[in-house]
Amino acid sequence: MSREKNQYRTMKLQAMVLDNQIAGRDAIRNWIFDYQNLEEFRSPEQEPLGNNINRKERGIWLRWILPASLRSERPDGGFPTIPNRFLITRVSVKTGGVHSVILETDCPLSEHMEEDTYNKILPYTTVFLLSEKEKEMLSASPDSYRNTGYFRKMQDRNGYYANLGVPFPAENWEERDGGRPFMSSCAPGNPDFTGYIRFHSNILAYFDNLADCAEDIFHYSVIGWYSSGENSHCFYSGQLFSVKWRKEGYPISDDHDPYGDELQKIRRAGKINVAIGENSQDAFRKWMVTKILHGKEVSPEEEHALHWVLASFLSGDVGKFKGEDGGWRIREQLQKERFDASYGGTEETEELDKAIEILHSLQEELQTIWWKKGYLNSYQKFSDPDIMKKLERELDAQSPDSLLMQTARQLMKVKALYAKYENGQDYENARQQGRYWKGKNPYLLISGVEEPEDMDNGEEQVRSDADLCMDEIPEPKVRGTLPEGVIHLYQEAFFIIAHVYSGRTGSGNTPAQGTLPDYPIETWRQSWKPAFMEWRICYEDMENFLFNGFEYELPYLGNEDLGRQSGYTGRAVLNAHKKQLFLEQLEYMDSLLQEEQLKEIRETVKKWKLSGQEMSGFMEQMGQRDCRAFIHPADCTMKELLGYTSDNQPFFKQTGGGAESIPCIKNNIIPKYRFLRAGKGYLKDLILYDAFGRTLEVISSGAQQGIHSSDRFPLIGAGENHAFPLRPALLQPCRLRTDFAGKEEASFLGFVIPCYLTHSLLVYGGQGEELGELFVVVTNQRKKKVYFRQETARIEEEAVLSFVDAMEKKTEEEFYLFLDAIEASFWTMEAAGNDRDQRRALLAGRPLAISNVRIYLERCGLPRKDYGWRGGAETPYARQVFPVRLGNPFMREDGLTGYFPEGDFSVFYSTAKPELENEFVKEIGKEGSPYVTAGFQKEEAPALWLFYDPLLPVHIYTGILPVKRIQQNKEAVLKILKKMTVPLRIGPVVEKEESGNMYIREGNLILQEESENRGDEHE
């Protein structure tokens, strides 16, 4: 087997000096990912803003950031294995003294260790969760440290806990273990493993205890490699230059800060601003608007306009918002931004999709019951026997009605349907159903801080042996048996050290041979780039959100009501993606701005210090769910029922997943049941900390002072009393269904065309066949009457007939009001297509389709139950209804004229305002004409007869979901329209029906009695 050539990549090294001054001044967030909590049905993740480990250690914390390729998820969903050996070298710049250790990251604490060593190392090891296989591999190692390791078995499970990461002196070190490296850049259940030192202490971070050293300047070098396996030819290195150490620390003032401490600088300047929004775009816009308008007085309209300009800019398609409907499209866009979408299935597989949705609901309920039981068992002395009994009933495999058995039956059903639909079938071109939508979490944008280097996923430098920089300078020898690649990097490190400290190599210089590594060759600074935020929001429901027909208006936020608030907390990884997005959008501005201007703007934007993140978990907590890591069942049947099987069969890939969260039991209390978020929030606490845990309290409600106190700080995006609005949004994914009655291909009941010349309404069938004409005649009793002149002998379209019958009963005034309403709606409608015949427009209006549409809300899965300890009863959620507005007369691209409720022609709800106040035609949404309401009960859903231009979309507004557009298939519509003819009857003309009735049109005022042909009497 040929040996692969060595590859050299670089790591970024960071250091935090913890001297007496800093340890006394800065709060350090110290918490571990404690897998052992799992056994008590608690999350390994601590409660946000919770308790700390407070260590008074003095020294330098080192951490290394692996190249992006080792930190990124692979296409198969796994994560790359990371090096398991690190040579850490500290060089004293003053004395030249060298101290090296080798960190064996997969070495457990063990019996083999001396008491002293054990106690010294213990606080810096990382508690890791090992699989049976990994534990067996370590136990079978020839190395006495590994085969006597302390492995604590998980209760009822095949996992083991072990404290990993042991440093050994580099002198005389040799590889004692031939085992395969197994640690990846994502620890079990912990994707942030590489981002925080307490998650990876002695694995990707090392504490250099300098309690015995008073003062020095140090150089650090870290070299990483794999002890064995297919990556043994890969080596990693990083260096840190001139790290100042003085145990007593330095008194820091404005003009004297030897560390260049960024955190202290931020604290002194106090220039941190926090913007909160209903979503990331909202928060970013609010921040931008505040930045642009700083110190200026502008009207609310101007401010609003600026929001829209930014919204269209950030959408990446400014052109989309041009034209008369631009403002409405922006509003649509802003509304959509408030929601997250999820897959809604296809029309062809609806039966299977629905069954899977129900299965997932049952799985979530079952997991909740299973989890609650486990939790109560762990805290038995506080549990209520009644609750326990109730939980056990649902988990009873002998009872057919238990939740367990319901879930089992549903799983069988899904399996059967899966076999029917999926096996061997291709649904790639299936017609997609509308997606489900759920309200987004609020977003926090923090200006004044930069994102951590861990987020840098730029190109990686890969060097070979020939690229390494070396010359004749002899490096101090590391005795021991190290791989060749490590020795080379070690030599290079000392080459660079010699050149840097003698001033021979700067970051821009290139050595005589080789390529300089791409880590920064510059003096160390005590940097601080926050990686995490922890927050607490107090939320209060509000009932005074008003639906204005298009969205929910922001109400007066009123005073803070501490009695009715719910508190939610969370932790999130910060990033700067909004700034990146802004920069990306600038690329599309090259047609509007000159290159120089663009360059200047780009440089300015790059300097923005922005970080932010969604307050993930907020909406989930409102829905009584906790998204932190949690324990899965060990029992195989339960695992399969809950969808937690690792089986890679296509069936489980398609249908599996199970519950992704556990019941939110915050401090033993399950939050109040809600199905809707509609209220206001108060940001009470916000802390930021970097990968070392160094913390900045930005907002604090407690006695300890943040930069801002929670009741006084200027939160961008918040209104009176520092409250920010959280407009109505459903907590369970839902969608608005518009089911058309009738045959699948033709969802039209019929068509009408108003005829201006004859003041009549031509009526057509669903396929465009001419049925007749409605117009006003005068009876021989000299009464005006709406009359239908039937074109064909028999009309089969019963639906259209019922409309015609109803119209015939209308008065002349009502009929004309109806025609006027149709005409008025045309004024604001855009002509579909450019080939509109202007002459025809003078004579007749455009064809309006009539469709019967049923409007209701549909949840993804079963209605969510109350997960509280005694919950589960019927909630108002099931019968909740919401106002829905159809059509938008202010938008040119909206085709709705109006609608009748199905089978009820007493009122026509018109998009246009009728000229006269009347009882027949009423403007939608005005007094006496409320919006339609839609709920979750399909059977009770209102069915409406829509009159609309089938070539234009109809917009449906709910405020709790994105704006929905109904758009007919244009080709199918045109096919029907082409069949339609518009007969123009210009009177006075006498017409005779088969029955012998004679009619004279328009003002000739005579209706012949049967068999009396008085046609000659017309004028």
């Binding site: 409660e47 407070n54 101007e302 600026l306 506080f382």
Partner: protein, 399 residues
């Protein structure tokens, strides 16, 4: 077979009682009996929280446990109407090896308002070295809550946050960092202005950075307030005071510039100088001023947004004098050059005028703004006028 594990535990406070409405500190310890080797898996401390007599801390999420040797966690437990916070400490190796030194920890929290006796449960899981199973043991500790006298002391001023040296003499307008010690629920800081006391800040903190500084010798008064928060607080709201007098080291210096900001759209403009301000309501495009002293009039016009093309012109003329004395600049370019007679000055993103004026001469100030047609968004300006008098006196508006 396990032998009973003998362990010592303690939970103590400083003094004999805890003071209501203050931060309470409990010191905990666990150690092996003489000559014994024990392993400790974890410690759980159950503290009643809420507003009742039998509750120790408020149930405000602010209860903390800290230890150098252990990992800390917390959980609130509700049983009936009682809330108890369980503070958990686990050893990093969950008791794999015997303790070599006592386990020590500190609990802090805000004591509630009610006096009374409270019970704290101390639960610990230990075993003798060599045994297999951990034994669960517990012990109860009780503490007295009583009321403390309100105090306020060490009211000091210093130059900066880090400088701990107290000072009494400051440069005019230099920031002053006040700090104090006390046990009030809130504090109010006042300063004397024209003989009356004006509140500077009301805070719950025990420090305040007074960025405005002082211009003349000033006396500051600090009031500590303890509000009546509980039914058994018979004393009601209580207050104590502290006084501090500070002097300036350059009392003759008097700054005359005060800034105001205006927005171009409304044609507002003002004159700033010694005690005279022009009205801020709708202004014509010019203003006439008569200085009572020689001085320099400076105008600075700065566009503050660049959303739309437009431009403004700033002019100042000495009334009745020849046109040559008109100074005008336009900002229609990013960079403009203006002549002030004293040389050329390059300005970016704005325009300014410097005009020497003589006592009694009438000065007309002009400001015009032009806007391109079809422009929707307006360009806004900050406009500041400053008057630097050479002698005593001020300026006044011409009626």
């Amino acid at each position: 077979m396990n032998n009973h594990c003998e362990v010592n535990v303690s939970l103590s406070i400083e003094g004999t009682a805890l003071n209501v409405a203050e931060t309470g500190v409990l010191q905990g310890k666990l150690w092996a009996c003489e000559g014994k080797k024990i392993c400790c898996e974890k410690i759980c401390i159950y503290i009643p929280v809420g507003n009742g007599e039998e509750d120790l801390f408020f149930n405000d999420g602010g209860t903390k446990i800290e230890s150098e040797q252990c990992n800390a966690g917390e959980l609130l437990i509700r049983q009936g109407d009682t809330d108890r916070i369980m503070l958990e400490l686990s050893t990093p190796d969950r008791g794999q090896r015997p303790l070599t030194k006592p386990l020590e920890f500190t609990i802090t929290g805000r004591i509630n308002m009610r006096t009374g006796k409270v019970n704290v449960e101390y639960e610990y899981y230990c075993k003798n070295a060599g045994d297999t199973k951990f034994e669960q043991m517990s012990k109860d500790f009780s503490f007295e809550k009583s009321r403390a006298e309100l105090y306020l002391q060490n009211f000091l001023a210093s130059n900066s946050e880090s400088g701990s040296e107290a000072a009494t003499c400051f440069k005019p307008k230099a920031p002053i960092y006040f700090s104090w010690e006390g046990n009030g629920t809130s504090y109010e800081l006042y300063t004397s202005v024209n003989g009356t006391m004006k509140q500077v800040i009301q805070t719950v903190q025990k420090y305040y950075l007074y960025r405005d500084g002082i211009e003349a010798d000033s006396t500051f008064l600090l009031k500590a307030v303890k509000t009546r928060n509980s039914v058994d607080d018979i004393n009601g709201t209580r207050e104590v005071y502290a006084l501090l007098t500070l002097t300036t080291d350059c009392p003759s210096y008097k700054e005359i510039t005060i800034k105001e900001k205006f927005i171009g759209k409304d044609s507002a403009m003002a004159m700033l100088g010694t005690a005279i301000e022009l009205p801020l309501n709708k202004m014509p495009n010019y203003k006439t001023l008569i200085p009572k002293t020689d001085g320099i009039l400076a105008g600075y016009l700065r566009p503050t947004s660049y959303l739309e093309e437009s431009s403004a012109t700033l002019r100042a003329t000495v009334y009745g004098d020849s046109r040559e004395e008109e100074y005008s600049v336009e900002d229609d370019a990013y960079s403009v050059k203006i002549s002030t007679g004293a040389g050329e000055m390059e300005l970016k993103n704005g325009a300014s005028v410097l005009l020497p004026v003589a006592q009694g001469k009438t000065v007309n100030l002009y400001w015009t703004m032009t806007k391109p047609e079809q422009s929707e968004l307006k360009k806004n300006y900050d406009l500041n006028w400053y008057f630097f008098p050479f002698g005593k006196g001020d300026i006044q508006n011409k009626p």
